[in-house]
């Protein structure tokens, strides 16, 4: 991964709509982070002090269920944003995250980004405008799964 961080981030869907100056400031808080297959990126309840843009690979969000181990809730793949618990107190991960194969990311320092947001509301608003669609997109997907669309129709079904 030899391209400058800014160039790499600018290629990801997350960057679209950011002003170049804002993106530069954001990237100043980031660095490359690569993970091995099966590596745990964060653990449920841990301190949410960073977030990631997935450049390559896939990660699984999971939840510990006593007796059933780590239950995978959802997987996120190339282009996705990983982590938003850093946006609001108590800054704790609600889920755990483990890689599925090798994963390349750009990782951002959450405290530094929060400082940027606090110092410059225009920047903060731009960040929220990038994060809200990520959150609503996941919410919509979750609602869709609640419908259990592929389940067999009710027993009264004909023909």
């Amino acid at each position: 991964m030899t391209a400058p961080l800014l160039t790499r981030v600018a290629r990801l869907p997350f960057a679209s709509g950011f002003e170049p100056a804002q993106l530069r400031r954001l990237c100043a808080t980031g660095r490359s982070a690569a993970y091995r297959p099966g590596e745990r990126i964060f653990t449920e309840g841990g301190a949410a002090d960073r977030f990631w843009l997935i450049e390559n690979g896939r990660v699984a969000l999971d939840l510990r269920v006593p007796g059933r181990g780590d239950q995978v809730i959802e997987t996120l793949a190339t282009g996705a944003v990983l982590g938003w618990s850093w946006l609001h107190p108590p800054y704790r991960w609600q889920f755990g995250c483990e890689t599925r194969g090798p994963v390349d990311t750009v990782m951002f320092d959450a405290a530094a980004v929060r400082e940027l947001c606090d110092a410059d509301p225009a920047f903060g608003y731009a960040m929220l405008r990038r994060f809200v669609p990520v959150i609503t997109g996941r919410l919509h997907a979750t609602r869709l799964r609640l419908l259990d669309l592929y389940a067999a129709p009710a027993a009264k079904a004909r023909p």
Binding site: P13, R58, A60, V72, I73, E74, T75, A77, T78, G79, A80, R100, G137, H140, A141, L144, R145, L147, D148, L149, Y150, A151, A152, P153, A157, R158, P159
Partner: protein
């Protein structure tokens, strides 16, 4: 009337006997049947079209074509995949080799795969919706040079509900971008978990030079079509396979109306620019 109205025979009139020559259990409740005609073949089916299958004495159901014959096979063989959910489909599900069932067809519009030549092909299927799009992938791979990128995104309830696992492996090996996601992972599942529209975002294709083919539950198709149009595929180049209560297949019984569309005739394959405003109306 001086001319005979009944002079044309189109395959719509009477169920012709076809014999089950192979039965493959895809999942617990889904089978793929290979059918060969007994007395006379029906006209050739195209991907996207459907047949009315009769379990004699029980009833009739619409089932899409789910496979193209391999080049060395009899061209008039029919492949249908069906899920046992009601009396008729349970009877057909139980039909072993040698069983004679009735077939009428072909009915409805086709996926019109050749019109996607020169384009990237993006196929998205949910659940049993993988069956009607399987012939698209087969047709594209049979003339691979005519198409750009080929993407197949598949959503299933659980890994065990996934159809055509051998095909998916074979197609991936042949260079198709295959993405499979499940709602509920099982032990050992190392693939995607989540809804299939979410896979659209990271698939590699040229939105302005792509044709989308979508089949699955109506809600899944709406979200998928939106994901495709969000990426820039024109709605007129997204094709969905719609379903209503198809009872006769031939446009005679009136059950399958969706506003101006008689879906057994004007569908099942409809472009999303036409379908979207109709799907937006409650109880249409």
């Amino acid at each position: 009337m001086s001319t005979s109205l009944a002079s044309r025979v189109t395959g719509a009139e009477l169920p012709l006997p076809y014999r089950v020559i192979a039965r493959h259990a895809d999942t617990d409740d889904t089978v793929t049947l290979e059918l060969a005609y007994e007395t006379a073949p029906l006209p050739a089916f195209a991907p996207g079209q459907f047949a009315m299958l009769t379990a004699y004495g029980i009833g009739e159901v619409p089932i899409s074509l789910s496979g193209l014959p391999a080049p060395h096979e009899t061209a008039r063989r029919l492949t249908h995949t069906l899920r046992a959910v009601g009396a008729v489909t349970r009877a057909l599900h139980a039909a072993g080799p040698g069983t004679v069932i009735g077939v009428r067809g072909p009915f409805g519009t086709t996926w019109d795969v050749p019109s996607a030549a020169g384009h990237d092909v993006v196929v998205v299927a949910g659940g049993i919706g993988l069956a009607p799009v399987r012939p698209i992938v087969q047709a594209v791979l049979a003339e691979r040079d005519r198409y750009g990128e080929v993407v197949l995104l598949v959503g299933a309830r659980t890994p065990a509900d996934l159809l055509y696992r051998d095909d998916l492996d074979r197609w991936a090996a042949a260079g198709v971008q295959v993405g499979v996601t499940v709602d509920r992972p099982a032990e050992g599942w190392n693939g995607h978990v989540g809804v299939v529209p979410a896979l659209v975002a990271s698939a590699r294709f040229r939105p302005g030079r792509s044709v989308g083919f979508v089949c699955g539950p109506e809600v899944m198709m709406r979200f998928t079509a939106r994901a495709l149009t969000d990426r820039g595929v024109p709605a007129s180049r997204v094709r969905v396979s719609l379903e209503r209560n198809m009872r006769c297949g031939a446009g005679w019984c009136g059950h399958c109306q969706l506003g101006p569309l008689l879906l057994c005739r004007d569908g099942p394959v409809v472009d999303y620019a036409r379908a979207e405003p109709l799907l937006d109306v409650r109880e249409l």
